[in-house]
Every structure is written in C-alpha cells, then in structure tokens.
Symmetry: C2
Subunit: 221 residues, 2 copies
C-alpha cells in the first residue's frame, strides 16, 4: 500500500500523446526475461543499436546500469529481487510515457512480478511485451560468460538463478527466442519482425491533421 | 554502500553521444527546489509546455507522478525523503543520458541531498542546474494551494516542511526565482533566458560532419 498521502495523480500541461507526437513514435516496453547466460543482454544491446540506426528511439535498462545506480541499495534476496523488478517497471513506464521503446534485460525470475509489470503498463494503456529468452541451463552454464555459474556451483555465490534459486519460465510470453538453437542474427530478425507485426516499429505516430506543430502553426497564423 | 555484487558498469553498443545526436539535443537536469506552495510545479509544468512548443524534449518529474509510482513505498520521514530524492536523481540521470531536459519539482529540503544530485550528474559529465524557487513562508502559507499548511498548523499533517520540518535553502543555486515578487511570465522568461545562456536550449547538438545520419549515409552509399 502506498505510504505517501496528500498526493494527487499527475496532471501536467503536456499529455502522453503530445510527447509521443513530438518524438513521432509510440512507446512500448519489451521485457526480455531468461536465466543468466541465456543471451538477454546480447540481444537487447544489439537490438538497441539496430533501432538507433533506424532512427527509432529506444533505451536499454539492464542489470548493469540499473543495479549500479537507482537499485544499488538492493541485493539478491527474494524481497530485493522483487523490489528491483518493481522499480524497473516504473522507470520503464516513465520512458514509455515519453514515447521510447524500452528494452529491459533482467532475469526477472518470478512470474507474478512479470505479470504485475504487464498490468502496470496495460492499466495505463501502455504497451508491454514479454520476450522469453529461452536457453537450456546446460547451454547457459556451458557459455557462462561472466563465470558466475562456476562460482555458484562452488558455493561462492548464493541464491543464483537456476542453481539454488528458482526461475519461473513464462507460460504466455509474447515471443519466445530459443537462443540455444538460433543465431543472434536470427533472434534480432525475429524480434524486429515481431515488433513490426505489432506496429511498435515501422508505423509513424504522427497524424499531420492533428499534430502539435499544426496547432502551433494555427496559433501563429 | 552498494549491496549488489557481480555487476559491471553499463557498456552497451550505443553511447550517450549517439543518443543525444539522434534526439538532436543534449540533456540536463533542472532541479527546482523550494517549500510547498512556492510555485515549483506551476513553473515546471508551464516550462515543460513552453519547451514542447519549441520542439525541445523535456520531461517533468514531480511529486505527484513519482510518489504514486516508483516511490509509492516511501513516506515523509527523513530517511524516506532522502531515499525519495536519491531515486529521483538516478531517474533524472537516465533521462539526461538519452538527451532529455529533465524538470524536477520537489521540495528536496536537505542541502546534502541536492549536493549529491549535482555530484551524481557531474561525475558522469552530465549537466545539473539548481533553481531555488524562493518564496517566503508567509506568502506560501497564504496561497496554500492544496490546503496543506492549514492541515499542518492543525497538526493533521506531521513533519511538514516549513512548519515542523526544516527547509535548508540553497546557498549557491544556479538561479533564484523570487516567486513572491515575480509573475509566472517573468519567472518562465528568466528560466528560458538562463537555459539559453547556458546553451541548454537554443543550440542544436547536431554536428553534421560527424552525425549518425551522415555515417549511415556513408554506409549506404
């Protein structure tokens, strides 16, 4: 339950629609979930660059930038993991409200937390897509890009997802990427194709007859 | 001290410079501080609209949208107030990293917290400007737009800034707005003029000889 009282909902002079028109795109959160080493961050960083090259505004929220900043007070207990994901969802929502395509790359092991993120967005009429970066534990552990599985097996890291901490796989993901069977190029192509099919990319937002510029022109003339 | 370990600093494929070039502006945080009723939110919301009309991307972080979202778990104790401001600073930094002009409207009563915000930005080579929205307590209490001073005087709200909670006025603000002596129009004009003098607005970021578009054109040709 919210602790803060005497707070009214936000009511600025600029609407979400105004912002999206200025940016000429509509925001969405693309939430990549999967175990460590599944390829989430590789896909998300590559996708971020691909979108930039198409002049599409996107922003990557990643364990590595969020954990060292706003969530530096949180560890890896169940409670802290939940709070980590909750806050990231709220940050993602703020970026979506200005029209950005948010790419989130977090293990996010609990189904209920991911469902809450979807609800948070959908309740505000914002788009949320869950992408399951599906890789077998055997393959993720073989890759072990950060050497974390090795440490977890030795007991040097406690509560490691897939080893001594659960990962609840999505049951109704919007898109599944079998990263132990696909190349990175295939994965990126699948995501881009999916985002096009959902009109997240490839359909400009601007409606010239009703745009802010046109309104401003009218005022000026 | 950070609790999260095994975290490396963010190193995506897209730099802050790339993002700012795409948006064609450089980010900055404009931090409005002042007591309740001083006029912070009125100035910030009006400014946000003025910037939008000039097609400048800005985003208002405000008690009312942040407190109902990411910081809904925080109350108004000294500890919670500090955490509120810390998180907002980190969110502001993320928006500045994509090139946005962040307008923050929070009482932010403690000097040390505001100094930390400045350091957070400057350590990352990002711009931060503190604007003191300076209004006498007598005048703010006379205005009492939300009826909060009346409640605080009756003891219905505890820990209210200016009544039974301290406000540490800035000693080296970048800009001071005496809102008990100026009109809103004058205040907005002063902020816009200041932002122009600091090249936060009015100087396009794009360097055509080195832009992403030009690079992309080269690749295409």
């Amino acid at each position: 339950m919210p602790k803060a009282t005497n707070i009214k909902p936000y009511a600025g002079l600029v609407s979400i629609e105004d912002r999206c028109k200025l940016l000429n795109q509509k925001g969405a959160t693309i939430w990549f979930t999967g175990i460590s080493g599944s390829g989430k961050s590789t896909i998300a960083t590559t996708l971020e660059k691909a979108l930039l090259e198409q002049e599409i505004f996107s922003y990557l929220l990643d364990s590595d930038n969020v954990r060292t900043g706003i969530n530096q007070d949180l560890g890896f207990s169940e409670k802290d993991r939940k709070e980590n994901i909750r806050r990231i969802g709220e940050i993602a929502k703020l970026f979506v409200e200005v029209g950005f395509i948010v790419l989130s790359s977090f293990i996010s092991p609990y189904k209920v937390d991911r469902d809450n993120l979807r609800r948070l967005h959908e309740d505000a009429n914002l788009r949320f897509f869950e992408v399951f970066v599906d890789c077998s534990l055997v393959e993720a552990e073989r890759r072990d890009p950060k050497g974390l599985y090795r440490k977890a097996r030795k007991g040097e890291i406690k509560g490691f997802t897939g080893i001594d901490h659960p990962y609840e796989a999505p049951v109704s993901a919007d898109l599944i990427l079998r990263t132990d069977q696909l190349t990175l190029e295939e994965e990126i192509a699948m995501v881009l194709s999916y985002l096009k099919s959902k009109e997240v990319i490839g359909s400009q937002y601007l409606n010239p007859s009703n745009s802010l510029n046109t309104q401003a022109d009218k005022v000026r003339s």
